[in-house]
Amino acid sequence: MALLGPNGAGKTTLIEMLVGLTPPDSGAIEYGGCSFFTHKAEILETIGVQLQESTLYKKYTVRETLQLFASFYRGPTQEAALLTRLNLQEKADTRLEKLSGGQKQRLYLGCALVHNPQLLFLDEPTAALDPQSRRHLWELIQSLKKEGRGVLLATHYLDEAEFLADRILILDQGHVIATGTPRELISQHSRESQLDVQVRHLDREAWTRMQREFARLRLQGDLEAGWVSAAGEPADLEVLLQQLLAHHKGTVQAVTMRQSRLEDVFLQLTGRKIRDE
């Protein structure tokens, strides 16, 4: 499950409450029916956490760090296999201060995995990583899913949520404003598709007629520049497209029809963009 929301939405606070770093002001936290507060020690044995802002001992090597975390847990641990899985075998005896950002994030994930937990909490694991490292981490997380582990991932990256999540919880300013699968969210909150057409020559009369007829598709266009844009139900957009093609055969140069994305869902729900860039 992904916790999706802009910075300041409360994703980190929520995770910190769930893993016992911050006490909630009210309410209860239960793991499989057991209250977190009364069964804390046992529950901590079964969960793995990767925090957003934390560093580890920079003078330790990768191997030593994993060994340290392994020593905290009762159950058996598999450091050697983990190193291979994280693709850190070559860096096993390198000190943390010499690792790259991507390597460090993989190590932190490793520390959360060293005791084979059933449930993982990851807070913005790919923040500030280059695209290649992000991809690698996504693959790792997917393999964790395949093993049947539960993953709660906090992120403000829409593509990450779309790619990895089975279910998404959208957070904004401390509230859950929507929840569901990516498909469900899009279809519930933003049924629109977008159509963009480039025409070399668009007849003025035809244009005025279309604007009247397809008013609810929020038609926009520029006759000189030669493009037309519309947003609405795919079925209606298809009708518009067919008309365009029928009356302007030979002059239609490009057609783009895209589905609404999570971005559009968030925009619909909050009136704001999710990205702060």
């Binding site: 016992g20 969960i47 956490v49 934390s54 560093t55 003078k59 340290l68 020593s71 905290f72």
Partner: protein, 345 residues
């Protein structure tokens, strides 16, 4: 010992080894102090007094001068009255002698200065005997060599105690604050690691490093200055351990909630610098007024220094330093309880 504790203690030692500044601070610094100060104050074997002499004409003056300069106990500084006043002010002489025209001697010295009184008597006796005074009672000197009476013997236990204090406060304590600031400790909170294992690992790590400090300082003391512990070795080691544990608890308590290393640094300097002077590390605390001695004895550093000196220089054992051990243990326990309540990951 739990798996986690063992691993964490290994980690503490690893951190120490891999931090070159820690090495320098903990091991090298006390050595430097010891060698410099020990060397400076070891002095010649023959104690001498510096005496100023205003030369004068005539037989009387010549005889006095002869009596003084032929005596190896005195270093004569010649000069006129103005120069001698300067000498006295500078401390180059303890006293200066002005012969008068009618064959009298005037001794000029600062009565407040403890040594000056004694030098005056010494000079006078020398001159009187040289001019023919005879002593009715025959007396001879029988020098006794008392081990542990040199300045270096006084200094070394003080340096050791001070070193143990600063390593605990600036080493362990600072590390904790730094780790807290870097959110390192928070990560541990999401694991089953128990707080007491974490704190215990710092304590045990510190004690292991203490053994290293002791070994280095005591061997250097022995090799360079022939320093020996007159009393019980076991008691000495035990007192060091209690002192270190106490100081470490104080360090943890002091930084229990801090995230700013600068704030911690200021607090710890505020604690150590006055104590360094008041506890009698470099010079005896008997120099401070009598009414303050009871208070000075209550300082944790004083307790450790006094205890170590009793054992090392006066040959005492466990029983005689019980008071100091108890006081240190009390500070440790109070600091521990405080830290337990207020410690923030």
């Amino acid at each position: 010992m739990s798996k986690a504790l063992v691993e964490m203690v290994k980690g503490r030692m690893r951190e120490f080894r891999r931090e070159p500044s820690a090495f320098f601070f903990v091991l090298f610094m006390p050595l430097v102090w010891m060698l410099i100060l020990g060397g400076a104050f070891s002095g010649g074997s023959h104690p001498r007094a510096a005496v100023g002499w205003i030369p004068s004409e005539g037989e009387f003056g010549a005889r006095v001068q002869q009596a003084l300069s032929s005596n190896p106990d005195f270093m004569l500084q010649r000069g006129d009255a103005a120069q001698q006043r300067k000498n006295l002010g500078k401390g180059a002489v303890d006293l200066f002698i002005e012969p008068t025209a009618d064959s009298r001697l005037l001794y000029h010295y600062d009565a407040q200065h403890p040594d000056a009184q004694h030098v005056r008597r010494w000079v006078d006796e020398t001159i009187q005997t040289a001019f023919g005074r005879s002593n009715p009672v025959i007396s001879e000197a029988r020098p006794e060599s008392v081990p542990g009476s040199r300045y270096i013997d006084f200094l070394l236990p003080g340096l050791l105690a001070f070193s143990l204090l600063t390593t605990s406060l600036f080493g362990t304590g600072m590390t904790l604050v730094l780790h807290r600031r870097e959110n390192l400790l928070r990560r541990f909170l999401t694991t089953p690691l128990r707080t007491h294992d974490y704190i215990l690992s710092h304590l045990i790590g510190r004690l292991l490093i203490m053994v290293l400090e002791l070994a280095v300082i005591l061997s250097a003391g022995f090799l360079f200055f022939g320093f020996r512990i007159q009393g019980s070795w076991v008691a000495f080691l035990g007192l060091c351990m209690i002192g270190t544990a106490s100081f470490t608890a104080i360090a943890i308590a002091a930084g229990a909630r801090m995230t700013q290393t600068s704030a911690y640094n200021s607090l710890v300097n505020l604690l150590t610098l006055p104590m360094m002077l008041l506890s009698g590390i470099w010079f005896s605390r008997s120099h401070f007024p009598a009414w303050s001695q009871d208070l000075l004895q209550l300082l944790p550093l004083t307790a450790l220094v006094d205890g170590l000196r009793h054992i090392a220089l006066e040959g005492e054992g466990w029983r005689d330093v019980q008071g100091q051990m108890g006081l240190l243990a009390l500070y440790g326990i109070l600091a521990f309880l405080w830290a337990r309540k207020r410690f923030r990951w």
